[in-house]
């Protein structure tokens, strides 16, 4: 397929609903397939906060490439917000470097932490009843880091990632909606 320059990429083609990403310090990893090149510049999520209690949410989004059995951090974006009223809004993440992503597979890794109140969430994939009987085989596609972390790792061994199919916790099946626009 010819390499085309995309203006928009969404990790989900349809925005399902607002979900709570409650697994703080758990790195959720979602493999994506870029059908063309796109500038990793304007990276946007949809944030919801409720109530007037003081609170802060921080999202770190890592962009990883894979070589063999290792994911390597290629770029990142982050945001921190402290809403004081009910809100549902787009938030643009600050990217560490502008990069024109090439077509193919990449991995988005989401690290979500809150303080003060848990009444904050991101729009994303609702997930659903998780597969628990057996994980998918072959190369790693999506799952979560099996150990807690407070920062995006520079590299991740895929053997340290738990695949969908091994956890009954629905929260490990939820990924935030991420929209990249040139």
């Amino acid at each position: 397929m010819a390499n085309v320059q995309l203006n928009v990429f969404e990790n989900f083609p349809v925005l399902a609903s607002v979900v709570n990403l409650v697994n703080q310090n758990s790195l959720l990893v979602q493999g994506i397939e870029l059908p063309g090149s796109i500038s990793f510049n304007n990276v946007v999520v949809l944030f919801q906060g409720q109530g007037t209690t003081a609170k802060t949410a921080t999202l770190s989004l890592g962009l990883y490439s894979r070589t063999g059995n290792t994911l390597s951090l290629a770029n990142s974006a982050s945001m921190s917000t402290a809403p004081t009223a009910n809100t549902l809004q787009w938030i643009t993440l600050a990217t560490s470097a502008t990069q024109n992503l090439t077509p193919g597979n990449w991995f988005l890794a989401c690290l979500w932490t809150t303080s003060g109140s848990n009444n904050m969430s991101l729009a994303g994939n609702q997930g659903g009843k998780p597969a628990v009987g057996a994980a998918y085989g072959g190369m790693f596609v999506h799952g979560f880091l099996s150990v807690s972390t407070s920062a995006l790792p520079a590299s991740i061994a895929t053997s340290d990632l738990s695949r969908e199919g091994v956890s009954t916790d629905i929260n490990f099946n939820r990924y935030p909606y991420v929209l990249i626009s040139a």
């Binding site: 397929m1 010819a2 390499n3 990790n11 989900f12 083609p13 399902a16 979602q30 493999g31 994506i32 397939e33 870029l34 059908p35 063309g36 894979r66 090439t102 077509p103 193919g104 597979n105 994939n125 609702q126 997930g127 659903g128 009843k129 998780p130 597969a131 628990v132 009987g133 057996a134 994980a135 998918y136 085989g137 072959g138 190369m139 596609v141 999506h142 969908e164 199919g165 099946n173 990924y175």
Partner: protein
């Protein structure tokens, strides 16, 4: 042109239990990788009741005109009990790096009469008329015990939930 390591048909996780697979009924669902990917390991999200023994046969088909033609296949016989997870197949009949574009997976479940095997994925609403555009998937109305070498899309049922629902598929190199 990139070489993909994986292709998933649903970017997000969808997990509706679809209609119970009918013994010997072949369904065709689309798979459209944006770049080349090795047809190596194919995973289906499935559910099964107690002591469900079945054979899952998967054909990879291309579409020319209105004829589906088989180019590759996988098969696995398995017994599952009270199961909800992934079933992996890897025995390709021919090593193949599939090219970008739309391919068709023919899904044949031979249950031997067991009635508790189902795919899990995205269900579909139940329109009363046949899909009016180009072929987007469908199912055989006749029973078969083997993957056909070719099949005319005009002979497929393309009406309603049972014909349109699509299971979760993960293909990896």
């Amino acid at each position: 042109m990139a070489q993909l390591d994986f292709h998933v048909n649903f970017p997000g996780i969808v997990s509706e239990t679809l209609a119970v697979a009918s013994n010997g009924t072949l369904s065709f669902v689309p798979m459209s990788p944006s770049d080349s990917v090795s047809f190596n390991k194919l995973n289906f999200y499935m559910s099964a009741g107690s002591n469900a023994t079945f054979t899952l046969s998967i054909g990879l088909y291309s579409l020319t005109g209105s004829t589906l033609s088989i180019t590759n296949s996988m098969s696995r016989s398995i017994t599952l009990s009270n199961f909800r997870g992934y079933v992996s197949l890897s025995a390709t009949s021919v090593a193949q790096n599939i090219t970008p574009g739309t391919w068709w997976l023919g899904l044949l479940v031979s249950t031997g009469g067991n009635s508790s095997v189902a795919f899990v994925g995205q269900s579909f609403v139940n329109p009363g008329n046949a899909f009016p555009g180009g072929f987007i998937g469908g199912r055989m109305t006749d029973s078969t015990n083997a993957l056909p070498a070719s099949y005319a899309t005009s002979n497929l049922d393309v009406t309603g939930t049972d014909a349109m629902s699509v299971p979760t598929i993960i293909l990896t190199a």
